[in-house]
Amino acid sequence: MSRTGCVWCPDWPVIAARKHADGLGTELRNRPLIVRERVGSRDIVRAASAEARATGVTRGMRRREAEARCPEAVCVDADEANEARTFEVVARAVEVFTPRVVLDRPGRCEFPTRGPSRYFGGDDALASQIRAGVATALGPDGADVRIGIADGVFVARLAARRSVVVPAGGSAEYVAPWPVSVLDDDELASLLVRLGLPTLGDVAALAPDAVLARFGRVGGRIHALSRGVDPGPSVFVAPPPDLVERTELDPPAERVDIAAFAAKELADRLLARCAERGLACTRVRVVAETEHGERLTRCWRHARSEYGDALTPSVLAERVRWQLDAWITTGETTAGITGLTLIPDEVVPADGRQLGFWGGDQVAHQRADRALARVQGMLGYDAVTTAVVQGGRTPAEQVRWVPWGEPREPELPLFVGPEVAAWPGALPPPFPARVFDPPLPAELLDANDDAIAVNGRGEQLCPPAYVRCRALPAGGGAVRAWAGPWAHDVRWWDVQAHRRCARWQLVVGADEAQRSGARGSHRVGADEAQRSGARGSHGDDVACIVVVEGGRAGVEAIYD
């Protein structure tokens, strides 16, 4: 695993907001500051200054609560473009020491340290030199700059939090005491804590196959990270050399918005071409050329690339926009931008996560969405549905109808428990194509035309001989074959939901009388007779499921 250095400026949104305010002539320097952002419909704290944090404001807290705790704080909106622009100074200072700087978000960047460490006399010397360089670049009121060097990106980021150099091979020891919340997945972290695994060391102590079995592929990754091993891209694929997207800007773009518009198209095109080859892109190099022949380049990656998350067109376009903005506003470009190139730096096999972001697919998706939304407008929101297969015994129970556009989640689990593969008593495949909920009234009769009854032990007294129901062709007929009754006594603990019923699977033919009369004439011909003779049936079977509940019979499903 390659030695990696990480430069991290804590509370970067706060620093960027203060610098921005300085430019506008307002004074935010000595006042507590809260940077807020909107995530979905929630208004939360993105970052807070040290003074605000001292009063108990934390990241991710609701803005209203934060303001209540620290009423004297100034609250500003997050401006990611500004954060990226301000961070360009830091990136440039690091670039003095190594050209291979990779940004993953404003406030944090990484670089491989093998070469520069040798040149500058070891990891510690390199770290202190870079810190000095960055501090000079940021100016006298500079921010807190932390540098960590360790094996792999994940450990380097943790090392940067404490500004330490983790010796080669010491990763496992270093990461063990960290809480699982550093895995950057709140839901997973809360689950691990509830499972009694509060630190990465606890997770690392588990058997890898057990974690993999419980959490799937993500489990494999978190176990590797907990051991201080950076899994990196799951499968390394060399980016195909021809997979480069380039565009000429004529006239040269002097303003960010014009260049960013071109960048958006470029990002879409690049990722669409990657997708065509079954690849997803996790790291991209952005190259800009100007009229004066300057050539600027910077590398960006997905902030969660260690979890295998790939760049999407919108995320990539946003990063390219930030970068162009930074170059143009900090005066690194002395003339208009004439050429823009995106080069994939690290690609992984696409695992289908990007489905729905591909160009053509997205257009079709939007078209379908629009049409279905129109139908929802005509008939009501619930009228347009998608089906979600879920656990259950009866065909009606096994499907949940979710209104179009809502998350497709089953209500009942597909599997009852780890030992029981399927629901006991569930109907096995093939499944019926027509399901009636509630069942259609029917009559299930024995040979003497009496209704079939089931005794308390779930046994029938006579085998079924006839079924009558309006949904069946010719109103029903003789039972040619049958299996059952399968007695179901479900949810006996719940007075409301308790059901006691018996089911039969039946194959029904037309009535004997009808068959001999109406059908005699057309069922001639040697092959017809042979076929029906050989198979013992007449090609007009109807298979169905009949349920008897509370003495009343009903057709629950037809295999159409």
Binding site: D361, A364, H365, R367, A368, D369, R370, A371, L372, R374, V375, M378, L379, A383, V384, T385, T386, A387, V388, V389, P395, Q398, V399, W401, W404, R408, P428, P429, P430, F431, P432, A433, R434, V435, F436, D437, P463, A471, L472, P473, A481, W482, A483, Q505, L506, V507, V508, R535, S537, H538, G539, D540, D541, V542, A543, C544, A557, I558, Y559, D560
Partner: protein, 185 residues
């Protein structure tokens, strides 16, 4: 659009009955047959052919009786298949028309009160939008293909035991370029 791209290839024995092994976009396929003879299964097979190439399908099911488990078993990607339930007969043509604008295949159970004029308009709309319209039930006007589900033989279930295992569908296909009436498992 190239000729090859206009064809939705249908897998399995049903596909072999169809001209060129599939259904041309823009065509109208009228399906009928008595209950239990397998017309729903054939409609779902056509929907599966659509979703398996990554396109969207919609099923208009006014009675709300479609078995989604069966659809999934036949190969329909339920994420790409919208099922429109509880459609009043008088709004049926409008709903089907709106769906024809948005998805690649619309399978719709025809209400008995459908007027031939509306049916013709929908067929024309499908042609114009290069969408497949599959109708279930009596279709009052001409169609590109007519599929009659004539009956179904079930095996596996005995008298007092066994379970339904397999069935053989008897489907007759009418239309241009159709080879013959055939049976498919």
């Amino acid at each position: 659009m190239l000729a090859g791209a206009r064809l939705l290839a249908v897998a399995g024995p049903i596909g072999q009955l169809l001209p060129a092994g599939g259904i041309q976009r823009g065509s109208t396929v009228a399906l009928d047959g008595p209950t239990g003879a397998g017309s729903t299964t054939v409609a779902l097979l056509l929907a599966a052919a659509t979703t398996s190439v990554g396109e969207w399908a919609a099923v208009v099911d006014p009675d709300g009786t479609l078995g989604a488990r069966a659809a999934a078993e036949i190969g329909v990607d339920l994420e790409r298949c919208a099922i429109v339930r509880s459609v009043p007969p008088d709004r049926w043509p409008k709903v089907v028309g709106a769906l024809l604008d948005g998805v690649t295949l619309v399978a719709a159970a025809v209400p008995p009160s459908l007027r031939p004029g509306d049916a013709r308009r929908l067929a024309a709309r499908a042609r114009e939008r290069a969408t497949v319209l599959v109708t279930l039930g009596p279709w009052p006007v001409e169609a590109t293909l007519r599929l009659h589900a004539q009956g179904r033989d079930w095996s596996g279930l005995a008298t007092g035991g066994g379970l339904l295992a397999e069935s053989e569908l008897d489907v007759r296909v009418e239309g241009k370029g159709v080879r013959a009436h055939a049976r498919a498992g």
